[in-house]
């Protein structure tokens, strides 16, 4: 030990007092670190459009959500690039709506560019961003196909009544998927959450509306209009399954690899993923109590430099032929009128597939999630996160 009679260098009473005073004074600067409201006015956050001189387009979309070039097949995106001489940087970096939100909140909230010209986000998140004033209006003159060909069930949603800000990319369903080489048919959420042969081999989605929507349905509640009691019962069910070790993880898009590899045997899944995985052991089915339906929407963020090119892109994918080619690959519901007729020429076996071209009755058996206010998003997402740990 050091000799206690020798004073240890430097620390005198005066310095201590001085240090204390500086410390206390600097605490007073803490309020300077407050964070202001992130709401913006889209009219103040407009960039000069350089689409015609700088022929590029930067898009953020979900993984496995677009057709790809093969030796014999020219993808819709390559055709778009050839047609308009626009170079597309297509980044599949949306794995979860909230995760993506936190990726861009600092830029958009401060009226700074995100470096992207288009995002593809699910209804509620698109609605939230429009409400925050982060999204630019589309120039309707540039997207005639959108108005002409958007299917009637998607026209005029509550959060964008005239589709001034958004254009659906694909619509899809959330249901159950299982690997039939490992386990028998899984028909209900209750089976998924309690069957012993699935213990520790089940994943659920981190998207609260998908997972909780299906759980609300299995509790006999309507996800479009539920009360706190029903919500609590559904959450309780999830919480019990998690504590029992029935649920292995809460995931984004990556669940499909684990399902194919056999790390999980069954899961909550999005309708197109299973088909696109091209593994005949994987089966997607609607739970007996009903499925959730949602759409992902193309939106143009503030300060996008290539809005004109983004509008060219939207218009391109609202041509029935392109929409049909895309749907034949991704197996999600095609939001474009006339694509079904085009599909006859591409792959007649898909024309009657309700997961791509659902009939009115089929759609009637699916459910949407109710619109939430900001404080409700916080409350419900918070409660859900506390159970999922994500």
């Amino acid at each position: 030990m050091a000799d206690p009679s020798v004073p240890r260098g430097g620390v005198s009473r005066r310095n201590m007092l001085l240090g204390g005073a500086v410390g206390a004074a600097s605490l007073a600067t803490l309020p300077l670190f407050s964070t202001p409201s992130r709401e913006q006015d889209p009219l103040n956050c407009v960039a000069t459009d350089v689409s015609d001189s700088d022929r590029r387009l930067i898009i953020s979309n979900w993984p496995e959500y677009i057709d790809e070039d093969t030796k014999k097949y020219k993808s819709t995106m390559t055709r778009f690039q050839d047609e308009y001489d626009v170079k597309v940087r297509y980044v599949p970096d949306v794995n979860d709506n909230i995760e993506f939100f936190s990726k861009v909140v600092n830029q958009l909230g401060a009226c700074e560019p995100t470096g992207r010209d288009m995002f593809v986000l699910t209804d509620w998140m698109a609605a939230r961003m429009i409400q925050m004033g982060w999204i630019q209006k589309l120039d309707k003159a540039n997207v005639p196909n959108l108005d002409k060909n958007l299917i009637s069930s998607l026209q005029g949603v509550g959060w964008d009544p005239k589709r001034e800000y958004s254009a659906p990319w694909q619509t899809g369903f959330s249901g159950i998927a299982y690997n039939k080489s490992l386990v028998g048919e899984v028909r209900t959420m209750d089976e998924l959450l309690t069957r012993p042969d699935l213990k520790g081999r089940v994943t659920m989605l981190t998207e609260m509306r998908d997972t909780m929507g299906l759980l609300l349905l299995s509790e006999g509640a309507d996800p479009a209009n539920f009360n706190d009691d029903e919500w609590n019962r559904a959450l309780d069910k999830l919480s019990r399954a998690r504590a029992d070790g029935q649920i292995r993880a809460f995931t984004g898009n990556e669940y499909i690899n684990d399902l194919a590899n056999g790390n999980i045997a069954a899961c909550v899944a999005w309708s197109g993923d299973v088909a696109a995985a091209g593994d005949e052991n994987l089966v997607f089915l609607p739970p007996d109590e009903g499925m959730m339906v949602w759409s992902d929407n193309m939106i143009v963020p503030n300060l996008a430099q290539h809005q004109r090119n983004a509008e060219r892109w939207i218009d391109w994918y609202y041509e029935p032929k392109m929409a049909a080619l895309l749907a034949a690959y991704v197996w999600y519901v095609c939001p474009v009128e006339g694509a079904r007729e085009e599909m006859e020429k591409i792959d007649p076996s898909l024309v009657d597939n309700p997961l791509i071209f659902p009939t009115e009755e089929f759609l009637a058996s699916t459910h949407g999630f109710m619109a939430l206010e900001e404080y409700q998003i916080r409350e419900y997402e918070g409660a859900f996160s506390d159970v999922t740990g994500v």
């Binding site: 030990m1 050091a2 600097s26 600067t29 803490l30 309020p31 300077l32 670190f33 407050s34 964070t35 202001p36 409201s37 992130r38 709401e39 909230i98 995760e99 936190s102 909140v105 909230g109 409400q131 925050m132 213990k199 520790g200 081999r201 981190t206 998690r242 504590a243 070790g245 649920i247 292995r248 993880a249 809460f250 590899n261 056999g262 790390n263 900001e374 404080y375 916080r378 997402e381 918070g382 996160s385 159970v387 999922t388 740990g389 994500v390």
Partner: protein, 284 residues
């Protein structure tokens, strides 16, 4: 004159590091401290204000106390395994490796050439339910037929141990390597048996490495979230996962800030106590 000039040189030498730390440690730390005192009702739409809401700390610790304890526990076990594995290996490299010394050291460092994330993802494949490790363990009935490693505490602790092992080995190796082998010979001449020689000579001389290595392993392991995220299930989540979720998913900056500051205070306290107990002020 000369004395003041010398004094100035000292300050000048400190300056770059001081500026760096002021910008990248002091300012962010203040921002974090401010965040931990935000009004918990804030949201991205309304903004967040510093309202000196100290109850955030109470809320964070009462709600996530078990997760905090679990993190410290996992980190402690991982550090323990790292110490055992690391000590044996650094001892071997320092005294027994001969001309293979350099090669072995390079091999210890080699994993750093690949990203941390990729290596942890590789573990996910190694420990997969249908992987050869699980199959082998099932074949010898160490694991039941439904047994698995992924999404269990075993996988998380194994991942932590693997990822932080080099941080244990390098300081241990440095302190063992400095040791004069003649001391051991002298102890042998005085009729000390191998165990006594290790316990009275080698171990005390390696203490600076032990302390350095355990700190470098324990501190990052306690705050790690990648291993729990990729190799664990929600039942294994650590405090890092909670903080990440509160910040990014739930937008609950106040609670996330309070939890981060608490973690920092707890770890610094533990380290101070540990360093005092180990009497390392002279060792380091």
């Amino acid at each position: 004159m000369i004395a003041t000039a010398r004094k100035r040189t000292g300050y000048l030498l400190i300056l770059p590091a001081a500026v760096w730390l002021a910008i990248f440690f002091v300012v962010p730390f203040y921002s974090l401290l401010a965040t931990s005192l935000f009004d918990p009702e804030g949201s991205v739409l309304t903004g967040y204000d510093v309202t000196w809401h100290f109850a955030n700390y109470w809320d964070a610790l009462s709600e996530y106390g078990t997760v905090m304890l679990r993190s410290l526990w996992y980190a402690a076990i991982a550090t323990f395994f790292c110490l055992i594995l690391g000590y044996l290996l650094s001892y071997a490299i320092a005294f027994k490796a001969g001309r293979w010394k350099t090669v072995m050291l390079v091999l210890v460092i080699a994993p750093f050439f690949t990203s941390f994330l990729i290596r942890t993802l590789a573990w996910k494949m190694i420990l997969a339910d249908d992987g050869f490790v699980v199959n082998a363990l099932q074949a010898v009935h160490f694991l039941g037929d439904d047994g698995r490693l992924l999404a269990t505490p075993v996988a998380v602790v194994a991942g932590l141990t693997y990822n932080f092992l080099p941080f244990m080995i390098l300081p241990l190796y440095t302190s063992l390597e400095k040791m004069d082998p003649k001391l051991n010979e002298a102890a042998a001449d005085l009729y000390a048996n191998p165990f006594t020689r290790f316990w009275k000579v080698t171990w005390p001389l390696s203490l600076p490495g032990v302390v350095g290595g355990t700190l470098l392993t324990f501190i990052p392991a306690a705050g790690d979230y990648i291993n729990a995220e990729l190799l664990g299930s929600p039942n294994e989540r650590m405090v890092g996962n909670v903080i990440q979720s509160l910040f990014t998913t739930q937008g609950n900056y106040a609670l996330a800030g309070a939890l981060s500051v608490s973690l920092m205070v707890i770890i610094v306290t533990m380290v101070l106590v540990y360093v005092r107990r180990a009497g390392t002020e002279e060792l380091l």
